[in-house]
Amino acid sequence: MNGGVETALVIGATSDIGRAIAYALAKDGCALQLAARDTARLARETRDLRVRTGVAVTSHRCDILDEDGGVSLLDTLDSLPEVAVCVVGLLGDQAEGQRDGAIAERVMRTNYVGPALLMGALAERFERRGGGVLVGVSSVAGERGRAANYIYGSAKAGFTAFLSGLRGRLAACGVHVVTVKPGFVRTRMTDGLDSPARLTATPEEVAAAVVAAIRRPRDVIYVRRVWRPIMFVLRAVPERLFKRLSRL
């Protein structure tokens, strides 16, 4: 058992980070509800987690791009989990997004609209129950819009703000909201990107940080400590200067 957590829902479970978080939770004996869009890939992860951990694992189709942000997922769950983790994300191609509104919209909906609606719907149920932990994986890219990835960054900024507001609203009723800003992580999303080794976490590091933040509730976590001072400085730089560092 994981600090009283018997069941956790992981949305975006076929992502590298989602898989690692699900594994870390299951290793503590927590039963899993896995949700993702691609059911074939989800079945592969479900089997793997069952064999590796022996916990009960159910799989649920969920498309964050559906009109309702995938909220219908919640009707397919056998029980309301104590913990819900949303790892959904799409980096997208900034240049393509600048040219093509449909591509930009897809990035915005995947990173903000869908996850926010889904976390909002879960929040309603958690509030009614009077407890639970909501974990949203956002991004350091949402701290400030950079020329290189502001479509993705703005959506993550929205999600970060949403989680922040949700945390304030639910604090009184025992529902805790954790915002995770992992920085660079070695995953499919960053395949081919050359990120600095000291700033780049593994999915397992992210998972360990998330599990720790669930056990002893934290509000906002960066996975590698080095990101906190970096983001502090980045936020403090005046816009006039930040503009010139545009492709930072």
Binding site: R41, R44, E45, R47, D48, V51, R52, G54
Partner: protein, 444 residues
């Protein structure tokens, strides 16, 4: 630059990561040859192809486990370390493990690895019930002893040259504890060492470290270790509370490339003398429980130990000699090494059981000797000399370790190469789509 565990040779290879088997046809459609690569623990050039090397590390899902029979079904990129972490606490252990747990299932099949129990249990491939192999068109085939049997036998030990191994099914064995009752015996010369192996046939696990700088009367002196998994009832009280525990991960790491100049006759001679005396002293002590991690994977405790040999890298030489030839042949090999003064930290001798079914599998009934040498100017000549001795005594070299062997000698060591080539020609396309620097160098 990509290389094997020996860090020699290093080649500029195009490296792609396979994440789902559905993506394999796309890689094949590029029209180049390719080789699948596991965790890069073969020593030489077996998992290198400059045109396209496909990392299988992301193909690491377990598919099913039958707790009634111990049958595990998993993808080829699953690490042995993951299997141990998952199943030892449940009381299961792989039927055969090599000297490191940082290998993939696909790699264990492709090299048809052996362990300290080869004399009793054969190679890993002998325990594989079936495997799924992708061919040159990306289509998959089930291979087993009853289905595509020829392809199955060619794939065990086939060095990835028959196709891409995607998944496999093999049976784990029940163990009551994670501890091995192990004892170490000192042998004063090669005859004594070999006599100890003969006397230890009933022990499930046996291996000997040889002081390869000892000459004359002490030639082949060494320390023989043998062991057997312990049953729960005989565990000492201090281990009773957690009989199936996993050992904490090794924390040691070789932080930098050791300057090659530090590896010389004197330093290695001292090291070997020290080890021999230490072991001989301990040998008088009784058998004692050793955690399986230490017993099977002592080097895994030292991360990146391949850096011990410095930047130029090292080559490992492992050969097997048929039993009748072994006393004279192993003595000749050791004499050659001692004369060259290029001792290695690791000289390992082991008695193998009968030849297995894999057409290109390395083990045959007899003695296998493994040595490693830093790459430097005299190394090629020394290896050539060792090859010549191996060849003269009817032995062969291990392809998973080799980086230098001459094609003609290698071929004579593998009498079933013709059959292997025929199966490969049929299964892997003509010319074969699955190729490596090793297959090119040896004209396999």
């Amino acid at each position: 630059m990509l290389s094997g565990w020996g860090r020699y040779p290093a080649l500029d290879c195009r490296l792609e990561r396979l994440r789902r088997c559905e993506a394999l046809p796309g890689l094949l459609h590029r029209g180049t040859t390719l080789i699948a690569r596991g965790n890069g623990r073969s020593y030489g050039d077996a998992a290198l192809n400059p045109e396209l090397t496909v990392s299988m590390l992301a193909m690491d899902r377990m598919r099913a486990f039958d707790a009634g029979t111990g049958l595990l079904d998993c993808e080829a990129g699953v690490l042995l370390a993951d299997i141990l972490e998952t199943f030892v606490p449940l009381g299961w252990f792989p039927p055969v493990v090599p000297g490191t747990r940082l290998v993939t299932v696909g790699g264990m099949i492709a090299a048809d690895v052996h362990g300290k129990n080869h004399h009793r249990d054969g190679t890993f491939g002998g325990h594989v019930e079936s495997l799924t192999l992708a061919g040159p068109d990306g289509a998959t085939r089930e291979c087993s002893r009853t289905e595509n049997a020829d392809l199955f036998r060619a794939t065990l030990g086939g060095m990835g040259l028959t196709g891409v191994i995607l998944s496999a099914r093999f049976r784990l064995r029940p163990v009551e504890t994670a501890f091995v009752m192990a004892e170490t015996l000192a042998a004063r010369d090669l005859n004594e060492t070999m006599a100890l192996f003969e006397a230890s046939r009933d022990w499930p696990h046996s291996v000997a470290w040889i002081d390869c700088l000892a000459r004359g009367a002490g030639l082949g002196r060494g320390l023989m270790t043998r062991g057997a998994f312990m049953e729960r009832g005989v565990l000492p009280p201090r281990l009773e509370s957690n009989p199936l525990c996993l050992a904490p991960a090794g924390k040691l790491r070789v932080p930098v490339d050791v300057p090659s100049a530090l590896l010389n006759r004197v330093s290695i001679g001292l090291f070997n003398e020290f080890c021999y005396r230490l072991g001989r002293g301990r040998a008088r002590a009784e058998a004692r429980p050793v955690h399986f991690d230490r017993f099977f994977f002592p080097l895994d405790r030292i991360e990146a130990w391949n850096r011990l040999y410095g930047r130029p890298g090292f080559v490992q030489y492992q050969c097997v000699l048929p039993k009748g030839e072994a006393p004279a042949g192993v003595a000749a090999l050791l004499e050659r090494v001692a004369a060259a003064g290029q001792g290695s930290f690791l000289a390992v001798l082991k008695l193998f059981g009968p030849t297995g079914e894999g057409l290109m599998s390395f083990p045959m009934e007899g003695y296998t000797l493994a040595l490693d040498f830093p790459v430097r100017s005299g190394t090629a000549a020394l290896l050539d000399g060792l090859d010549e001795i191996t060849h003269r005594h009817g032995g062969r070299v291990y392809l998973a370790k080799d980086a230098c062997c001459a094609p003609a000698r290698m071929r004579e060591g593998y009498p079933r190469l013709g059959a292997f080539k025929a199966v490969r020609a049929e299964a892997a396309g003509a010319p074969p789509r699955f190729a490596s620097e090793l297959s090119r160098r040896l004209a396999l």
